[in-house]
Amino acid sequence: VEWPYRGYYRTRKNLNGSSNGAVSDPTLLGAASEESATRQTAQIRRGDASFVRCIVGAPRFSPYLFAPFCGYSICALRVDNAPVLLLASLNTHTVSSSPVLPESATPTSAGRADLRPEHIRDAVIRLAGNSQDGIQTVGAFLARLAGRSAQEVMTYMTIPSTISGGPSIFQVRIGSGEVLSAGDEADFLVAFYQHSYDEHIYFLREGGVLLYDSDQFQPNLEDKRFVYVGVPITGLTVEALGGTAKDKGKNIFVLGLLASIFRLNPDKLKGLIRERFGGKDESVVNTAITAFQAGYAYPVGNVLTHLYEFEPSPRKSERAQVTMDGNQALAYGLIAAGVRYGAGYPITPWSSVMEILRSEFPKYGGLFVQAEDELASVSLALGFSYSGWLAVTGSAGPGISLKAEAIGWASMAEIPLIVINVQRGGPSTGLPTNVEQSDLHQAVFGGHGDSPRVVLAPATVEDCFYIAIEAARIARKYSTPVFILSDSSLATRIEAFDEPNLSEVMVDPKPDLSPRPPGVKPYPLEQITQHAPPGTRMLDGKYPVVTGLEHDEMGHPTASARLHSAMTAKRRKKYQQLGDELPVPPVHGAQEGETLLIGWGSTYGPISEAVNRAQERGERVGSLHLRHLHPLPTGLEAVFDRFKRIVVVEMNDQGLYGYGQLATLLRARFCNPKIESFTKTDGLTFRVREIVEGALK
């Protein structure tokens, strides 16, 4: 056979499982002689790959695709002015790497035909692969399906900060009861690659199931602690989808597999797939559905002794659940709060908030501006607020530093503003895709001069929605900048929660342009400042200037010592008034006793779960979660008095004097020597076990 054209071999990457397998190199495969091609094919065949596809094409023709037939594929390609080439493609994907089930981990020896689902209340599934594999999509599908089934759900993910590629995980915990954290260990680990296996096998509980891509690697089957299920995920996906997609779509294949293992509703999932890819080319939807079908149809019964089924959720709520991540919840919370204008600059993990608002605000007649830098974005937001539309800006820690000067102006000029800080590991560029709660002091104290401000922190994804409404309420009522301290774990995790009653919580955002009566002072000493936006008629003909210079009640600049003292006190008192207005948060668990855990922000789940575990052991432990960090609600002392120990649990450093940032604040505020600190700085969310062992010892 002549070989006049360059051959195109479409093979999946890393066919033989090695990270740089020579056979996947197209230049090598595209060798210009038949001899070398044969040799390469033979090499492929000798490898442990289960599936091979060779496509030969000519430069003038697109590769000719073919369907597998009876387990063997015959490739025929007709090239004009050239001989017909016939290539047999081996298709040996029958589960050669049949699962090895350690005896100890085989609870039943049920025959394959009569697999009975085991009812479970709770499952932690960790998917580990590379960031471009779309495992987040799978996780999101599972989360949304759980949400639609009234199941509790929480997810956790890590994404690399590299531009493309790199290891990535998505963990989804689905439960029929209350799910407070993403789970300390996985019941089910899906590993796409050797490195996924190496990195995450520690996270699998004993007796847990490792579902792995047998086309990519072989786990250590000698380790009898786990149940091994090898499925040639890559090969089967390529086979199902045909050549051009390569192994794209194996995430959806895995979704199909999981749907069959956990007896999830395939029609609902397909519906979700159609919604997700609906806006795109029809072929994208079809490809995804094909991949899903292939995974769903895979005979898992041959390789798994168990199927699982979630118990129906006991939760009875009249409201349907919505499923979203924390940044979405923040964005839609702002819309519900009547915020219609804002400005920002891209930075991880804040960017998705501004992306959503940029598209959403115009629907409501508003506008979100992408500014040239952080300083411009906060200045734009202040311009919007000054013009009568409470506005939002946001960033992560480094960007907030750049905004600091303008926020000082907002304190002095008394302009309402919402500043979102989606915290990440710091300082400086730090750990852009990891989680940390180390910007509390920046938020509380990060201003020049005496410039108190309000600092709030959402506890859950659901709370991101409500905290935005609370932030807007406070900003408007007290004419002040309000910080919302979210973090990258809230930003990226998906939770299902009761759909908010929008007709109750939505706020009408109209600016007050009603004419102001004579004698109105822009900065009254005895009242909270409420500015008249431009466009407002001042009936005495005296128009106000808002200013960053110290001023008298009329806004005129002054250097009077008496006035600076009086105005500083005026600006402070409103926060004291706010503190008095705030309710003391409820104590979870024991109302008095041994230890009170105090937390803020995204640690709500693991802390609450740690308290539950301690209580199950009969310990008298409670927890208090602060949403209002500055000013603190008045009256916390009474709660502190009811416990022997108070331990503040937070994800930041213990600092020079041995206390985390909130602990430092609370010790300064209450001078209570009982207040201890438990911190960590590994860039990961708290595990329940860490809190139980570290803070409740």
Binding site: G147, Y341, P362, L375, A376, E499, S514, G535, G541, V545
Partner: protein, 313 residues
């Protein structure tokens, strides 16, 4: 709800806007400061144009000239150093019925705020910005400014400035400003004319106004002042009258010609260098808002958000 719906119509009967009505605090500038003349010209423009009083917004950053808002009785804000362009941009974008005037100096606009000036120009936000250029930092008492000429002796350059100065006109043209003019504080009529043309321009309109710092750079602009023996050379704009002399006149839409005029050595030329029509960000954003709202059949805010949440179930 469309934010514009919130704006009440202007009351039909209103008193005439007099100089007294727009005058506020007595300026704190040094006697004989050039900025007095700029302020007086602005009063004149307000009196002449009779804008609704409540719709005038006077904004500034930090500097001697940025004290401006305190001296004008209108809604106003005295912001932070260098960031007045983004502040003003937001006001212009959110409230198109307002007349946004921005005042500042060379340090505020061309040094610390240089980046914002470029982006405001590129985005073509509808506002009028008067840069009162005195070639020196006056409020902080005589440091070199971005426009200080080479050789100027200041407290930070005691042996004379060595850094190449910014040419504000060239910077603005290059950045995409759609109206660029230059005037002199000693030429009140010219100044009024320029401010009026700038405010009539739909887009980012900037005037560089040479305004002498009597304290730290006296005589800086005498070369452009005929009363001090200088020459006030005005750009002759094309009248498009097909006369032979019109050939030599300046076409304000010609970017290259504008750039060439901006290169004329100090004291340079005065008048409009560049003026073109380009859609403003205000208009483009409004277009987006209108199409987004039309697609939603002008549904209420509650309906839109409810629909979004329905999709997340």
């Amino acid at each position: 709800m469309n934010p514009l719906d919130a704006v009440p119509p202007v009351a039909p009967e209103r008193e005439k806007l007099t100089k007294k009505a727009v005058t506020a605090d007595h300026p704190t500038w040094c006697p004989a400061c050039g900025d007095f003349a700029v302020l007086a010209s602005f009063y004149k423009v307000l009196e002449k144009r009779q804008l609704p009083h409540e719709n005038i917004v006077t904004l500034a950053g930090i500097g001697c000239s940025s004290r401006f808002p305190y001296f004008v009785n209108s809604h106003g804000a005295h912001f932070i150093h260098g960031r007045s362009v983004p502040l003003a941009s937001a006001i212009s974008l959110a409230r198109p019925e307002l007349h946004v005037f921005l005042f500042g100096g060379d340090g505020d606009g061309l040094s610390i705020g240089g980046n914002h000036l470029e982006h405001g120009a590129r985005k073509n936000i509808n506002l009028t910005y008067v840069i009162m250029d005195n070639f020196v930092y006056g409020l902080t008492k005589k440091q070199t400014s971005p426009t200080s000429p080479i050789g100027y002796k200041s407290k930070t350059d005691p042996t004379g400035a060595i850094d190449h100065p910014v040419n504000p006109i060239k910077k603005l043209i290059a950045a995409g400003a759609t109206f660029v003019a230059r005037t002199h504080a000693a030429q009140v009529n010219h100044m009024i004319q320029m401010i009026e043309r700038a405010m009539d321009h739909d887009g980012f309109s900037v005037i560089e106004c040479l305004s002498e710092c009597i304290e730290f750079f006296p005589g800086a602009f005498d070369a452009g002042n005929p009363r001090k023996g200088g020459e006030f050379k005005v750009i002759e704009e094309k009248k498009w009258d097909d006369t032979p002399e019109d050939e030599a006149r300046h076409d304000v839409t010609d970017e290259i010609a504008a750039y060439r005029l901006a290169n004329v050595p100090f004291p340079g030329l005065f008048g409009v260098f560049y003026e073109i029509d380009r859609p403003t960000k205000n208009a483009l954003e409004q277009k987006w808002v209108q199409s987004a709202r039309a697609k939603l059949n002008h549904a209420s805010d509650l309906e839109i958000l409810q629909k979004t949440f329905d999709r997340m179930k």
